[in-house]
Amino acid sequence: MRCVRCQFENIPGQARCIRCGSVLEASAVVVEVHPPRMPAWRRPWRGVMRWLRGHRVSVSVPLPGTARRRTTVTSEHVVGLLLNAVPGLAHLVKGRFREIRLYVALWFGLLVLGVLSYGSPAGSLLIGLAIGVHTWIALHDEAFRKITDLLERVEVALVVVALLTALYWATPRVVVPGLTGGHTTFAIPAMNIRAGDYLLVRRLDRADLALTRGTLVLIRPDRFRNARRELVMDQPSLVIGQIVGLPGEAVRIANRAYVVGEQTLDPGRFPVPRWLQDHGFTQGGLVPANSYFVGVEYTVSVHGRAALNDAAIREACLIRASDVRGRAFLRWWPWQRRGFIE
């Protein structure tokens, strides 16, 4: 009898091949011929586990009483992290750029769109997605692909996300120093500005504090918030306001318009915020030296509507020169009205 495995010609009557041990005769064994089958409910779970294994991730549960084996941080990880500050650079160096070229293109597209729409919720979302894609690219580097344990990979992913977020926060501040931005809180029709617009702001040097009337500035109104917390609601920490009164000038409100000295300002160029229109500022006050009267829209609380008086308004609107962070110069969002501020 010829063996199907090794083609050895065995003596008739042999149950198994003399050379390789393969079964020769059907009568020699009685076997179960129906294979085991997979229950349908296991299919999705196995698919997930297969996907994880395909991405070199293993889910290992340590035996009771044994500690989880940890991967130690090596110089390879540090170098990998540094190279991955630029998406695709690590792969380029190692000659594996082709593997992630689509991800790099995706990252670049998301980043450009995110920067162009910065200041809107969509812009934040796009930049967040760009950070996510950047993390994905970094985790596909050889230095991190060797980490196969799922929990460790999650930890590494969180660390990489945190570091990349910090990098994305710091990079524009280093590349374009002195550039920042803020949202407006009220409309100025003469400047084609509406509430909620995002303006780019150039930071001011300490020496450059000679601001003119009508300038849009980024201020930090923390005094008002801290002293009169009960008066306003959800006051932002940084906000765009408009300089109305310069040091030494007397500012008051009459007929829903600013009156500086004896001159009534055009409400189209110098609109009075709604909370000042409602509460009036008829007696006004003198702007001290090293301070400006800045018009900003605040949302006054129910308690504030009764308690607000001229003193509180003076405290809210008189901003010290040191609290003026910068001068707005460009309407950035929405893109239809993008342009320099006159």
Partner: protein, 254 residues
């Protein structure tokens, strides 16, 4: 025809030498052929059942054991395929094809280290079958260089009578490797040899669709015509019909 030609004399053959017509003997070979027929029709469940029936008739039939393991792999039941390959290895120890099938189950289950080990073990044996080289091509499909193509050439070199099926499998391996141009070459040859196989037509149609070739519709229609109850060609045809400008522009990535 003479006047006595219709008379029965207890002889199985007719005077003209032909065997009498009727139901074929339902032995292991019959079920094995049926199983191969269902496999080429991509009806893996029925193919598996027929392989089991073949084994019920003849439990030493190696092709049926290997076929069962292969059908389990085609059905996506990789751990079960490995268990069954182990059982088959009990009857045919160190058989390279069974080792290769085990490697294939591991590779499809994303256990690449084990797959490479089993494939290495299979290649080291004597009397290699085409399946060993096809599996090696699939295991090493991610590697750079012409390893997969070399393995496929070796599989074809030792295919013998199984050449059409080996070409079909080679085309499928290359399609998994996204080498659609070469895959189409093999699949076209396979379709010429196996014109009644819905699986071959479907695989050819998929590769052509990936490359945006208009012949894909014909191939998929053929597959649907040969096996109307199979949903995959219909789904694929709908996708091909919806292929818009951007899908065409982006090509294989969508």
């Amino acid at each position: 025809m003479d006047r006595f030609s219709r008379l029965e004399f207890g002889d199985e053959t007719t005077p003209s030498g032909r065997k009498p017509r009727g139901e074929p003997a339902r032995d292991a070979d019959y079920y094995h052929k049926e199983a191969v027929k269902y496999w080429l029709a991509a009806d893996y469940e029925l193919a598996l059942r027929n392989y089991s029936r073949a084994l019920e008739q003849n439990s030493t039939m190696f092709e049926a054991w290997a076929g069962q393991v292969l059908m389990l792999i085609e059905l996506g039941e990789y751990p079960e395929a490995r268990i069954w390959a182990d059982k088959a290895l009990g009857f045919f120890p160190e058989h390279p094809e069974l080792l290769a099938l085990k490697a294939l189950a591991c590779a499809r289950d994303a256990k690449m280290d084990q797959a490479v080990a089993y494939s290495d073990n299979a290649v080291g044996k004597d009397h290699l079958t085409p399946r060993v080289w096809l599996v090696r091509a699939e295991v090493f499909r991610e590697r750079k260089g012409p390893i997969a193509e070399g393995c496929i050439n070796k599989a074809i070199a030792c295919a013998g009578q199984l050449l059409p099926i080996v070409k079909l499998e080679a085309g499928r391996v290359l399609a998994r490797k996204r080498n659609y141009v070469l895959a189409i070459q093999y699949l076209k040859e396979a379709v010429q040899d196996l014109p009644q196989s819905p699986l071959a037509w479907y695989e050819l149609g998929c590769c052509q669709a990936r490359l945006g070739l208009p012949e894909a519709v014909h191939s998929l229609e053929q597959s649907r015509h040969l096996r109307p109850d199979w949903d995959l060609p219909k789904q694929r045809l709908r996708k091909v019909g919806k292929r818009g400008f951007f899908r065409g522009l982006l090509g294989i990535w969508l």
